[in-house]
């Protein structure tokens, strides 16, 4: 039987209450949302917080909405709700691509978007998707609210800029017309963590790639991000050759490690191939619906 070590349980009734509880317990507290990463880690004693602050009552953080030209996703949004959101599919189908391959439907009923980001597992899918679309996260703490680009959010495996006493409250994705986005993943079996995965967003200006965003999962890319390949694409012709070259550059700059999911050369191959595939699909979506880049 797997049972966590002893801890104290606190249930927050509002964001302010959660912050007060986190201040009370300091660095020994962990926030629990869906708990589908944290509770397994506690069972294995890889995490031994003295206190859990449960934020499942914070309905105020469960939303997907348009705030002007920003797609705002509350931290307590469940994976299932992100997957079911027509607004998300309309503007950024990359998130529906990613959600379809995160765990399984019952786990997605419970796990949250904010929890996934804060867990910061190197194989977690949404981090690369958010990196690809250049999202920012909103973090609240005792000193107020700060906004951090996702591309600066992760400080290492299982580590983020969210400090003790702070709470991630929202992910803000800028809406930019004329683009398309997609996510491609290879997993050993349905619902597993990625062997490797890539997310891409592309904005076209006629036959030229005006801008591109690329995120990489599980291949040791800093901040789940592939800036060198993005830089190559900006101003490049919107051709298959450009996408293949971008994949090659992304593969060259990532640092996968060998594990039970595969050797380094295989993962590097996947990083390149999946980058090209994600770019291809993102570009096709952008061309089909230049206004929005909707799901296809």
């Amino acid at each position: 039987m797997q049972v966590p070590a002893h801890f104290e349980y606190e249930r927050a009734t509002s964001v302010d209450h959660a912050l007060a509880l986190l201040a009370k317990w300091g660095s020994e507290a962990r926030v629990v949302a869906g708990g589908h990463s944290l509770i397994p880690m506690m069972k294995l004693r890889l995490a031994r917080p003295e206190a859990l602050v449960d934020i499942n009552d914070l309905g105020e953080l469960a939303y997907v909405r348009l705030d002007g030209d920003v797609l705002a996703i509350g931290a307590m949004t469940r994976h299932a709700d992100l997957l079911a959101s027509p607004l998300v599919g309309e503007h950024y189908p990359i998130f529906h691509d990613a959600e379809k391959v995160i765990a399984d439907p019952v786990v997605r009923n419970r796990g949250t978007v904010g929890g996934s980001l804060c867990q910061a597992d190197p194989s977690e899918d949404l981090s690369a998707a958010f990196a690809a679309v250049d999202a920012s996260v909103v973090v609240r703490g005792p000193g107020g609210t700060r906004t951090v680009p996702v591309r600066e959010f992760h400080t290492g495996p299982y580590e983020t800029v969210v400090g003790p006493g702070e709470l991630l409250t929202e992910i803000a994705v800028p809406i930019r017309p004329g683009g398309g986005s997609a996510y491609e993943k290879v997993e050993r079996r349905v619902g597993d963590w990625a062997v490797a995965a890539a997310g891409a967003a592309v904005w076209l200006d006629g036959d030229t790639i005006a801008d591109a965003g690329i995120g990489l999962t599980a291949v040791g890319a800093d901040h789940f991000h592939a800036p060198e390949a993005e830089e190559f694409l900006r101003g490049s012709p919107a051709t298959e050759a450009s996408l293949v070259e971008a994949g090659r550059i992304a593969a060259e700059h990532c640092e996968p490690v060998a594990d039970q999911r595969g050797p380094v050369d295989y993962k590097r191959h996947l990083a390149g191939e999946l980058t090209t595939r994600a770019l291809r699909r993102a570009m096709a979506r952008g061309r089909l619906n230049p206004g929005l880049g909707a799901e296809r």
Binding site: M1, Q2, V3, P4, A5, H6, F7, E8, Y9, R11, V32, G35, H36, I39, P40, M42, K43, L52, D54, N56, A103, D104, P105, V106, V107, N109, R110, V190, G191
Partner: protein, 156 residues
């Protein structure tokens, strides 16, 4: 700490350790052993119950997280002596052999049919894709759920 959980319509108050998992609260504290306890890692899905109306894997939910909420287990599927159509479907279509995965499968199936009364085979397979069956090859489970969709009128 003291928690009160509404399970299958009945309020249960108990003093529990925060680290007690919901699956063990249901099985050991309340004696509701219809919910099975399997992999302990949120993979196999035998422990699926409804929490506030949504299927969750109860090996990865703390009992204290269910405080003040409602839980529905397989014991709450039938209305008295009348089996839920999903249960009837599992009987008629031989949807089980050893029965270990069955309670979780049926809880997810009921939820699916409540939201989507006429699911395609693909939708059924997707819905139960987080739950393992080592006996049936899933064929008869899918048939059982199709039977319930076709013939059944839910009592819930």
């Amino acid at each position: 700490m003291q928690i009160t959980v509404n399970v299958n319509g009945d309020e249960h108050t108990a003093d529990v350790e925060p680290r007690l998992l919901l699956v063990h609260f249901l099985r050991d504290s309340l004696g509701l052993t219809g919910t099975h306890w399997g992999c302990d890692t949120s993979n196999c899905g035998v422990c699926v119950v409804w929490l506030d109306g949504t299927p969750v894997k109860s090996c990865t939910v703390l009992a204290v997280m269910a405080d003040g909420r409602t839980v529905r287990t397989v014991e709450g599927l039938a209305a008295g002596a009348a089996l839920d159509p999903v249960q009837e479907g599992f009987v008629r279509c031989h949807g089980l052999q050893c029965g270990f995965c069955t309670p979780g499968m049926m809880m997810t199936a009921r939820w699916l049919l409540d939201r989507n009364p006429d699911p395609s085979e693909e939708e059924i397979r997707e819905a139960i894709s987080g739950q393992s069956c080592r006996c049936t090859g899933y064929e008869n489970i899918v048939r059982a759920i199709q039977w319930a969709a076709r013939e059944g009128v839910s009592t819930s």
